[in-house]
Symmetry: C2
């Protein structure tokens, strides 16, 4: 399974970066190959100063070795070995009318000291963070997410949509990071759902990413915007930073387990503002977005 | 003691904000009074878009009530009541040749359910975060810090200078946040040093703040700078955000104990950049700063 899924994300990285380069039309992804001293490594691809994408990364990694101490206590296990691979992407468009998107699909195995698998699971999801809310875009993104789920289990979409709203939540601001999507974790074999079944589900979600996101980019990329729109985008990007540095388990994990810093923090936006006690004008488009972030909606 | 120290920081806030307004010459501090639902409140004073200070806050608060659960486990105590008051300040100048400064002086009491004090301590310090290193500024700042310490105990300066270097450290970047200053915590009565002695020490440190910082501002505020200098300042401000959101106990505490968000996150810089895998040119002024952040120096 680990080879099959790692092959899958290698190909998916190629598919996604090729398509995004075509969409951008100006910038290309720069690739960094890196090795983890304790085992494994990754292929980081970053795009900067594009016509559409101001900054973004589509990264894969496959790491293995002894489970770091910090992860042992997190998973509540003793000394054991692990393998983890995944694809992580974040895209920060320049135009505030185009939403930021994040996705991650990953697979994890743990082994006893004889090398036998003692546990394995999939995790991942994808979620959208608009600066201006176009309801039809939210509905499009969620519809594609739902379609990818429905063939596998009729409850998956509503369960993982809710998990996404719960997870990407800035509790200290009492608001969601964005308008959600899917989030799932610890997807393990049970009863009538094998790891093979999970593989088919996760790869169908991964395969639908471009269809969920690219039409939104195409539709909004030529919309005009003002410096005020840009300021709002940069203030909202500040909330993105707050979520990633204060709450996101993946980021904190990476920082505390000696991950490759530049690949982990590639997710942070290129330019950001923090203003003291900023609130949008009543009745404005900015306030309309905030209202939805404070009260997550059903989009499908 | 709690009244005496709270009176002190109220007056110190007035002294500091008056002086900083005079130094800025353009912007003034805007005041927000706020109440904590569970007891106490604060007086937040924020300056934005000044001639010198792009963003800054000089805040006091005095809060009391039942010790929040998150703090009980942190201090390893059961249900008890507390009182805490302090002054916190952060100043982000516009000119990259002028350093950012942070200071905090605080006093804490814990009570049993009969209202008797079971523990009390002072904490605080002040530290400097330059974007371009002027060694004489670092020496000036540290000399004033040392002078405030030396009358109280000959070891205080070296001990608290080291604690400062250790605390304001971005472990995930393997570099200090700035060039340090003083940091002390859990300063409790013992042997030959009473709470009264600690009060005299902490207030002498607070009293020296303007003398430590303002001459540096005056000396550097008219230096010319380029957009490249500004970019570097904004990238370094990103490291400031990383420290405050990932490592700073005060910030995380505030976020997790329902503090007033806007007063806590007032510390975040007004404009920030994150570039992928950015390193300064070999031999540049920017690299000279990094070398010092990677190997903290003795300045006095």
């Amino acid at each position: 399974m680990k080879e099959k899924f790692y092959n899958y994300i290698q190909q998916l990285q190629d598919t996604i970066t090729s398509k995004l380069e075509a969409v951008d039309g100006k910038a290309t992804f720069q690739e960094d190959l890196w090795k983890r001293p304790e085992g494994g490594g990754g292929r980081t691809r970053v795009i900067e100063n594009g016509a559409i994408f101001e900054k973004g990364g589509v990264n894969i990694s496959a790491v293995h070795g002894e489970l770091p101490k910090a992860m042992q206590s997190y998973f509540n296990v003793n000394d054991c070995d692990f393998f983890a691979c995944g694809l992580s992407l974040v895209l920060h468009p320049k135009n505030p009318m185009v939403p930021t998107v994040h996705a991650n699909w990953r697979y994890f195995e743990m082994y006893d000291k004889q090398g036998a698998i003692i546990d394995s699971w999939f995790g991942g999801g994808q979620d959208l963070t608009p600066y201006y809310l176009f309801e039809e875009d939210a509905t499009h993104f969620h519809s594609i997410c739902k379609r990818a789920c429905d063939g596998h289990n009729p409850d998956f979409y509503s369960d993982y949509k809710k998990k996404c709203d719960d997870y990407f939540y800035n509790a200290h601001r009492v608001e969601a990071r964005g308008i959600g999507g899917l989030f799932f974790d610890y997807c393990k074999a049970k009863d009538d759902f094998s790891m093979e079944d999970w593989y088919h589900f996760v790869t169908e979600v991964g395969d639908c990413f471009l269809e969920a996101y690219v039409p939104i980019v195409e539709k909004r990329k030529k919309l005009p915007y003002t410096q005020e729109n840009r300021n709002w985008q940069e203030i909202r990007r500040g909330r993105y930073v707050e979520f990633n540095l204060v709450h996101d388990k993946g980021t904190l994990f990476g920082l505390k387990t000696n991950g490759r810093i530049e690949s982990i923090l590639m997710s942070l936006p290129p330019t950001v503002q923090w203003k003291y006690d900023h609130y949008p004008e009543p009745g404005s488009e900015e306030e309309k977005l905030l209202n939805v972030l404070k009260n997550p909606k059903d989009w499908v």
